[in-house]
Amino acid sequence: MTRRTIRFLRKGKVAELSAVPPMRTLLEYLRLTEKSKGTKEGCNEGDCGSCTVALGSIEDGHIVYEPVNACIVLLGQIDGKELITVDDLANDGKLHPVQQAFVDHHASQCGFCTPGFIMALFTLYHAGFKPTRQQIVDHIAGNLCRCTGYRPIIDAATQACNGRITDAWVADSSAELLATIQDGEDVFIGDDQSFFAAPATAEGLAKLCETYPDATIVAGATDVGLWITKQLRVLPKIISVGRAHRFDTIEDHVGHISIGASATYADAEPYLTAIDPDLGEAIRRVGAKQVRASGTIGGNIANGSPIGDMPPMLIALGATLHLRHGDAQRAMPLEDFFLAYGKQDRAPGELVWRIDVPKLNPRDAYRCYKISKRRDQDISAVMAAFKFTLDGRMISAARIAFGGMAATPKRAAQAEAALVGASFDDALSWNAALSALHDDYQPISDMRASAAYRVDMAKALLCKALMEVGSGRSRDTRLSGLREEAA
């Protein structure tokens, strides 16, 4: 069965739209169609959070609210969700607890970013626990404020998000209604030339992608959204992976985890953190809450950015990528997927299907590091990941992968080889590997970093990883993301 509309929950009612142009963003729908002007456009690229809205979806019988950037989410993608915006929160003129806390703490000045903060914090309010300051700061890392300096916003969040939920959305009040619009139907709105499609099954998705090899496959739209809003590309055929049942499943096996391609960063974070705390810290620094709620591991791989954070992290672990084209499946080491700048080993109509990520063996040690101008919500200048297999105090094997050092995410083959036999107790034994990095990488200079700095970082981070594994400490070598605190 195919549905020619999208349905979502809005202001306590089911909204059903048949006019869903494939490239229409949720923000355009709110501001231009609904004329709900509370949600603001700050950057139109998912980097400032001013357009943050809450999307509710049912997980294990409960509604979970997540913040998303309405400017780059496509309207069609909210099918089956509850959409809550800043305009909805007050109850009979009485401010929502998050709104009231903003007034109480002088947390707005110009007020333009405020609705986005309110909605980001609405989702934290509904997380159902009392967050620490660190959790609050992390939750709003994707919301930029240019006026306040954030202190009063953090205070307001501390007051409002206290673990008690007393607003109109208490106790899954919308769950029943939301359940009525969950179905197993494929969504297809439009015609052969221009459509928004969201198949309900993974198999249906694979088939549709095969049928329309020129269609644009969209997962979190944290990248594709910008093709639309910034590059003004015309993408008349959109296939959204988000509704495909169990396509986002993460399976925890004995020796590895298997990540469905539409699993978001937020979904994958606990599984990867369990492999190594550095993975958790690095994922915490991928975009911000909004991006991690929408963006997917599969999408980050599929788009093949040389500065994508996930590929180096996963390549160092020895991940295997599974692709599917119609009924045909194939697999390859993840590093082999990246052929050249902007070119991946993916045929038109072929889907990134799943990623198998080996867990660490007892003799393995893992470290990864992200270097960026701003600690949070920044794109990496350099992303480094290391897996050392130890033989006592010696290295018997190494996998090293970097982002930002080449036109693709790339392994440091020569440094890996040079590291075999190196000892943690003899820094001189590292030198061959450190100088081999010069042969492995010839990075470029751009607005994020100079080539010279990138080379310096490659060496510094390898050195740091060796020091940290050798000493078992990170407190003396890091400003944030201490392993001692994660343990």
Partner: protein, 762 residues
């Protein structure tokens, strides 16, 4: 209720902000038939003659109503604040990448954006002068002439100095990154008039620009601004172009038209804080005291003058910060480059001057081995050492008091010791600390701007309509002025309705800038309210047969002896008695003088002071940095509203910290700005703010100058407090090799910090 002044009242729009119901220009219900304007530019050239401008495809794009170019402008094609050198639409040549050549007017914004990319533009491209070094090498004509403050024979004084440091360093610019981009909505009126709603700090300038452009008398154009979603100087002169394009589209089509810039265009097409190269020599004695300083500021002004004269002058005015220079040569060159025209930005040149002064202090400390704080204290203005390089005597100096209070409350000396210990034991992570003062001159240095007007109406129910020439950009101006008026009338603030700033109510206004909004408009509004109050008191006095001087306005009532009535009852009585309940108010700052040709006078009504102490940790492997703790003590005189003032201090600090650390503007050698969106240009986010952030207001005896309720301006001065962060980074690096000065620049990005770390080894 004991009056409104001094209370930590919420921003007047706080609830509206939180509800999402505060209306910004783009949120206004569009009048029927509103069109949308998109600027067009040459994607691949920065400067040169326009050889061919083919707009056929743009014109043919479905939904396009008009395409505007320079020849469509009936009057003056200029949106500059003064010198007539900023074309609204480029005429024959472009001078920077992103300069607007044409504008598309279309039924929807999406259509306009898509159509604008179809233009075929051929430019006979010249090689752009991107940097100040390029400008000097190419010999481009400075946008305004160089200027200097001089005292004594500096060369001789330097020669006679026991020690001399010579250095040159770069200080980067800064994008305003107001979250609401530039926007204006123009609505055509009868007889060719125009009403424009603009997100602007300077409605009067927008009005004048549009009137000139459309060949209309000023009286036919009205500009209104209820609020801006941030401005920070970026909407002082540079809001005019977008309002002008909207008005031109409205004029040409006869339909309302809106121009709202996309973030990338906003960053490409509007100016920023001036970046500067600072070349200096300083002489000093063994005690670390300066004997002479010779400095040249080379400012990248961009392609036109804009406000560069005032900005660069203010760099010179603050090249002393809080320090006395016995002999000096303070020179500034305003270089013309093929980049967007740099403009006002919170601090208005002052920050660049101050960062120089503080750099000098750090350098002297490194050379002498003295604690940088002791070098600073030794060089402060003091008795017999109290004349600035522009000959104004510093009469209200409290720099030392503030520094010493903060030195104590921040535990500076003990922390200095424990940091030394930490650094001795830590190989990779290193800490640094610094305590730096701020002294900032308050008044427009263009003296005639120091005036303001207000309009106050009292209605017969006792409610009050307040209007003044200042604009609200989030700084809390409206609530502060409402507090002033409520105080004057002895009524509750919520009886005062604050209304949008419009050239139709208060004319000939100055921009809301130079931290002066409250000082000027507060006094004007107070004068307006006082005039009405005097008339009201006369009516009551007559009625009660008491002297008018015996009548008090308090707690919403008017009282004398046993007589009492509500403020509203008296308003009604005045109306019956045919007494006017409306008044304008006017204020001009007294005492200030400035003779620019002779570089002498009292350009500032008073100085605002503050100090901050910052502690940081750096990673010497990667250059990454964390701010561990910040203590601030800042002087606002008697605070009109401590909540608003603390908001300005904290917000200014974090914004300044961004300028000094993570915010990096990168132009390539073709003059293209590579950092034109938040994905590449990184302003501070919540996790950059230290958890340990202690902000206090200085326990002031009130402003010695007769300012509004003896308060002090607070908009800009705190932006310079985070120079202590930059100095603390320098301190952390300097510890690696005592006696060697780190080569640190602004901004101190991780890469810049690592470069400075590496400079210590050589």
């Amino acid at each position: 209720m004991s009056g409104s002044i001094g209370r930590a009242l919420a921003h007047d729009s706080a609830a509206l902000h939180a509800l999402g119901t505060a209306i910004y220009v783009d949120d206004m219900r569009e009048p029927e038939g509103t069109l949308h304007v998109e600027p067009g530019y040459a994607a691949d050239a920065a400067c040169g003659r326009i050889e061919n401008l083919n707009l056929d495809a743009v014109q043919r794009f479905p939904g396009v109503v008009a395409v505007l170019a320079a020849e469509n402008i009936p009057g003056v094609n200029d949106c500059s604040p003064a010198l007539g050198d900023d074309p609204i639409l480029a005429d024959g040549v472009i001078a920077f990448h992103g300069q607007v050549i044409f504008a598309v007017v279309a039924e929807t914004r999406d259509i306009a954006r898509r159509a604008a990319r179809l233009a075929k533009i051929e430019i006979a491209a010249d090689r752009p002068a991107v940097t100040v070094e390029d400008a000097m090498a190419f010999g481009t004509k400075d946008v305004v002439p160089e200027y200097a403050f001089k005292l004594g024979d500096v060369a001789k004084a330097l020669k006679a100095s026991p020690h001399v440091i010579t250095e040159s360093f770069h200080v980067g610019g800064q994008e305003h990154f107001y979250i609401e981009g530039q926007v204006a909505l123009a609505s055509p009126q009868e007889k060719g008039g125009m009403v424009v709603y603009s997100s602007t700090q300077h409605p009067t300038e927008v009005q004048h620009c549009i009137a000139k452009m459309l060949k209309l008398p000023d009286a036919m154009v009205t500009c209104e601004c209820r609020r801006m979603g941030g401005a920070f100087g970026g909407k002082e002169s540079q809001a005019a172009q977008w309002a002008a394009l909207a008005a031109l589209a409205a004029h040409v089509t006869g339909r309302p038209a809106k121009c709202r810039l996309d973030r990338d265009h906003d960053m490409m097409m509007t100016g920023k804080r001036h970046d500067v190269r600072i070349d200096y020599k300083v002489g000093y004695d063994a005690s670390g005291r300066i004997t002479a300083t010779d400095v040249e500021f080379l400012a990248r002004c961009g392609y036109s003058a804009d406000l560069s004269q005032g900005v660069c002058d203010r760099t010179m005015f603050h090249a002393d910060n809080a320090y006395f220079y016995p002999a000096y040569h303070i020179k500034s060159r305003r270089l013309r480059t093929n980049t967007v025209s740099n403009t006002a930005f919170r601090g208005f040149g002052g920050p660049q001057g101050m960062v120089f002064a503080e750099r000098m202090m750090d350098r002297i400390a490194i050379e002498t081995g003295l604690d940088p704080l002791d070098v600073r204290k030794r060089n402060l203005y003091g008795r017999g050492r109290d004349v600035t390089p522009y000959k104004q005597k510093v009469k209200d100096n409290i720099a030392l008091e503030i520094i010493e209070a903060l030195e104590k409350s921040s535990d500076y000396r003990a922390r200095r010791k424990s940091i030394r210990k930490f650094n001795d034991e830590s190989a990779i992570l290193k800490k640094g600390i610094a305590l730096t003062p701020v002294k900032f001159g308050i008044s427009f240095t263009l003296t005639h701007l120091n005036q303001a007007g207000a309009l106050v109406h009292v209605y017969t129910d006792g409610s009050v309509h307040l209007n003044h020439g200042g604009t609200e950009m989030g700084q809390g101006l409206y609530i502060k002025i409402a507090q002033v008026v409520a105080q004057e009338f002895g009524i509750a603030v919520d009886m005062v309705n604050i209304t949008a700033t419009t050239t139709g109510k208060v004319p000939n206004t100055s921009p809301t800038a130079a931290s002066s909004g409250t000082d000027l408009n507060g006094m004007a509004a107070k004068n307006a309210a006082a005039a009405i109050k005097e008339r009201m008191a006369d009516v009551a006095a007559k009625d009660w047969k008491v002297a008018a001087s015996k009548i008090r306005f308090e707690n919403g009532r008017v009282i004398s002896g046993n007589h009492s009535m509500s403020f509203g009852e008296l308003a009604k009585a005045c109306h019956i008695a045919r007494v006017s309940l409306s008044s304008t108010g006017f204020y001009a700052t007294p005492e200030i003088t400035w003779d620019r040709p002779n570089a002498t006078g009292n350009p500032f009504f008073y100085f605002a002071y503050g100090a901050s102490c910052s502690e940081v940790t750096i990673d010497t492997f990667t250059g990454e940095m964390r701010v561990d703790r910040v203590d601030i003590l800042h002087d606002v005189g008697y605070s009109l509203n401590p909540a608003i003032d603390i908001g300005q201090i904290e917000g200014g600090f974090v914004q300044g910290m961004g300028w000094l650390t993570t915010e990096e503007l990168v132009y390539d050698d073709k003059g293209v700005l590579r950092t034109h969106a938040p994905s590449t240009y990184k302003i501070p986010c919540a996790s950059d703010v230290p958890e340990d952030f202690r902000v206090n207001l200085y326990d002031s005896g009130g402003n010695p100058a007769d300012s509004i309720y003896r308060s002090k301006a607070v908009g800009e001065p705190p932006l310079m407090l985070p120079i202590s962060v930059w100095c603390a980074i320098n301190d952390a690096i300097a510890g690696l090799n005592p006696g060697v000065a780190p080569k640190l620049v602004v901004p101190a990005t991780p890469e810049a910090i690592l470069r400075a770390v590496k400079s210590m080894q050589s």
